[in-house]
């Protein structure tokens, strides 16, 4: 047996021995001093979306799962979870499921490139926040969607699309209402609304009607027709802008009275629990 082979054998023996000894030490220490980890935490974590969106108010899905296991949070506090998963978490924890009003994000602007005027050609960083640095944004309307996708990149569920016409649109079936996009939009156009809200005013400009019409075909011109048709309780006026009262929304039919088409009716999102596409998209 030459020296080199002997050296190799020694190395194997030495490392295996060290590993075994250290493993034994770790095992003994854990056995003697290790804290019990609630096995439910891992199980709950598996039932959470795993997007770490922060919508629950905790630092991420693991932190939320721990809070749930210790009874410090409600299972419904996660805005992104499907109803089925919430039910299973409740069963696991042995608590009754509270009621939850699911919310979705809506971009309150309807002025895409076909309907709203651009003030100039913007040639710079493709991001709304950066575009705002160049004379406040190249869109004719100072309040409209810039369509450069800051919200879409912020969405952990890939629920926001920048359409071919250059405006952000929320895919309600994927939106979980976590609110990341609300914080991302530099023009504050995105709002979380009850998922069953029947109508939305897709305009956020407080300017006078004539000024808005000059730059956008689908602006709210402040004509108050919708307010008269539905009543002051359902739609209120904020200066020259109609605002849906989401606590007491009007019926979908009121959308028909809007002369510019900025009052838009929505259909409730299809029930998507079985497929759970949001999670698939995240993990895809």
């Amino acid at each position: 047996m030459n020296a080199q082979v002997l050296q190799a054998v020694w190395a194997v023996v030495l490392l295996t021995g060290t590993g075994t000894v250290l493993g034994l030490v770790v095992g003994i220490v854990v056995k003697l001093f290790g804290a019990e980890i609630d096995p439910r935490i891992e199980e709950i974590e598996g039932l959470l979306p795993g997007a770490n969106c922060g919508g629950c108010g905790f630092a991420g899905c693991v932190a939320f799962a721990e809070a749930l296991a210790h009874g410090k949070a409600e299972p419904t506090a996660c805005p992104s979870n499907s109803a089925a998963a919430v039910e299973r978490i409740c069963a696991l924890l042995g608590v009754a499921a509270g009621t939850r009003n699911p919310k979705v994000a809506v971009v309150l602007c309807g002025g895409d490139n076909a309907k709203a005027r651009q003030a100039a050609l913007y040639n710079g960083v493709v991001d709304c926040k950066d575009a705002m640095l160049v004379a406040g944004g190249a869109k004719g309307c100072r309040f409209g969607c810039l369509g450069l996708g800051t919200c879409a990149r912020a969405c952990p569920f890939a629920a926001i699309e920048i359409t071919a016409a250059g405006i952000a649109r929320v895919h309600r079936e994927f939106c979980t209402g976590c609110g990341k996009c609300v914080a991302a939009c530099p023009r504050n156009l995105i709002r979380l609304v009850p998922a069953d809200a029947p109508v939305h005013v897709l305009c956020s400009s407080p300017e006078k009607g004539a000024a808005k019409r000059g730059v956008c075909e689908v602006a709210c011109i402040g004509c108050r027709k919708c307010v008269k048709a539905s009543g002051e309780d359902h739609i209120t006026m904020n200066g020259f802008l109609a605002v849906v009262n989401y606590d007491n929304p009007p019926t979908a039919e009121v959308a028909a009275v809007c002369p510019t088409g900025c009052l838009v009716a929505t259909t409730p999102p299809a029930e998507t629990e079985t497929a759970d596409p949001a999670r698939e998209m995240v993990h895809a």
């Binding site: 710079g124 960083v125 926040k129 100072r142």
Partner: protein, 446 residues
């Protein structure tokens, strides 16, 4: 040419000054209405002191300073306040503005008496006059001048520098001002020196203005004011670079010129100070260069604050072909604007129109790590590395890599062969870092 220190970095863009540097300053004819923005300076918005329907005279106060770092705003002509409304500003923001209907008489307000004996006047009196006249830095940043003249007792000032460098390409307003009002420049310098109590006054002018150097050198003979010609390199007119070039002193990162005992004032500011003191004139007009290849008659005009850009452009004969870009200020540091329906402000040093072939298209290509931006950066930053950090929204990293030291001079973007929008990235980072600092401050207060 005297010995000078070579400041770090810098570039040599085509100066484009030949278009307008021979054109003498012309007074703009009176307009029917002026839209005078209230917030024209860095600092707190001033408080409105006139009401709708009120009559004002030329030079009368429309708004008074609302704090130490604030500035008064004055009426550009006599007339009636039509309304106070929200208007678009050259900075890209909107802000309140007084719409003034001129009465055509242009009657002057006699509120501020000339201080003919300024050479004996108390520095406090002179400084108060500068506050009353609403004077802000005319080089472009519009920082209230009186604040710069009030250094804390712990920072003794030994040198006053007048900035006649005008390193920004295409702009010739300061050049013409030095040629046409050299006495006012020197009087302003002496008043500023008296306020600060300094003996050493230096005027820095780049060598591409030999006529201005010669004229001011001759006029300054016997006054103790030293005029220095400086080898041309952009951005020599940036405060910190000019201090380094003239005195060899380096302003520390995050510091101010007063940290090295220097105060820098623009020559335009000096003229405004001289006029405020010797004539009792408030700051309601300034010299602006209107230039660019599409402009029919590029030149320099004395424009009243509140003149719409569109009217200013009419003075220059309009355009001979459609411009690709309109810039408020110069090509390196100016701001692109989307409309001519914005008013001239105290800081409007130029209105520049660029032809299609003058405009670089940003293509969003990746950084090729050539390091040209690092060589060009006068603040010794690494713009390429910073821009990659910023693209990935790592503003925490950008802060530790000194994004806040960026002076937005544009040298990096000028030098970048990949045409990366480096200045836009840095501006974003500065905004985000400041926002994070404010948020952290609010949190610690609570």
């Amino acid at each position: 040419m005297p010995e000078q220190v070579r400041f770090r970095g810098g570039v040599h863009p085509d100066d484009g000054k030949s278009l307008s540097q021979a054109a003498a300053i012309q007074d703009a004819p009176l307009l029917e209405t002026y839209t005078v923005p209230l917030l024209q300076h860095i600092g707190a918005p001033p408080k409105l002191v006139v009401a709708k329907g009120g009559k004002v005279l030329r030079g009368q106060r429309l708004a008074e300073p609302s704090g130490f770092v604030s500035a008064a705003v004055h009426a550009p002509t006599s007339g009636t306040v039509k309304e106070v409304t929200e208007v678009a500003l050259p900075t890209g923001r909107t802000g309140p503005a007084v719409v003034l209907q001129a009465d055509g008489e242009d009657k002057a307000d006699e509120g501020l008496a000339p201080l003919t004996d300024w050479a004996e006047a108390e520095p406090q009196v002179l400084k108060q006059r500068i506050v009353d006249a609403g004077i802000v830095g005319m080089g472009g940043a519009a920082f209230p001048t009186a604040v710069k003249l009030s250094p804390p007792a712990t920072k003794p000032i030994s040198v006053l520098i007048l900035n006649g460098v005008e390193c920004e390409p295409c702009l010739t307003a300061d050049h013409r001002l030095m040629l046409e009002q050299p006495e006012a420049v020197l009087t302003g310098a002496r008043i500023l020196a008296r306020v600060l109590g300094v003996r050493t006054v230096r005027i820095g002018i780049e060598a591409n203005k030999p006529d201005a150097i010669a004229l001011l050198t001759e006029k300054a003979r016997g006054t103790g004011i030293e005029v220095s010609g400086l080898r041309v390199r952009y951005p020599q007119g940036a405060e910190k670079q000019l201090i380094h070039a003239l005195t060899g002193r380096k302003v520390p990162a995050g510091g101010l010129p007063m940290d090295v005992g220097v105060v820098v004032q623009n020559v335009g500011t000096a003229v405004a100070v001289a006029e405020a003191v010797t004539l009792g004139k408030t700051l309601y007009e300034r010299v602006t260069t209107i230039t660019g290849r599409p402009v029919v008659r590029p030149g320099n005009w004395r424009l009243r604050v509140g003149t719409p850009y569109a009217k200013a452009l009419e003075l220059a004969g309009g355009v001979s072909f459609d411009p690709a870009k309109i810039i408020s200020g110069g090509p390196m540091m100016g701001f692109a604007v989307y409309s001519l329906d914005i008013p001239v402000m105290k800081s409007t040093s130029g209105i520049l129109l660029l032809a299609r072939e003058d405009v670089t298209q940003f293509t969003g290509e990746a950084c090729i790590r050539c390091g040209r931006c690092v060589d060009a950066c006068p603040m010794a930053l690494m713009p390429g590395t910073l821009s990659v950090q910023i693209e990935n929204e790592r503003f925490d990293l950008a802060e530790t890599w000194h994004a806040l030291d960026c002076i937005e001079c544009g040298c990096c973007a000028y030098a970048c062969p990949a045409h990366r929008p480096l200045v836009q990235h840095l501006r974003r980072a500065k905004q985000e870092v400041m926002a994070r600092r404010r948020a952290a401050e609010n949190k610690s207060k609570r």
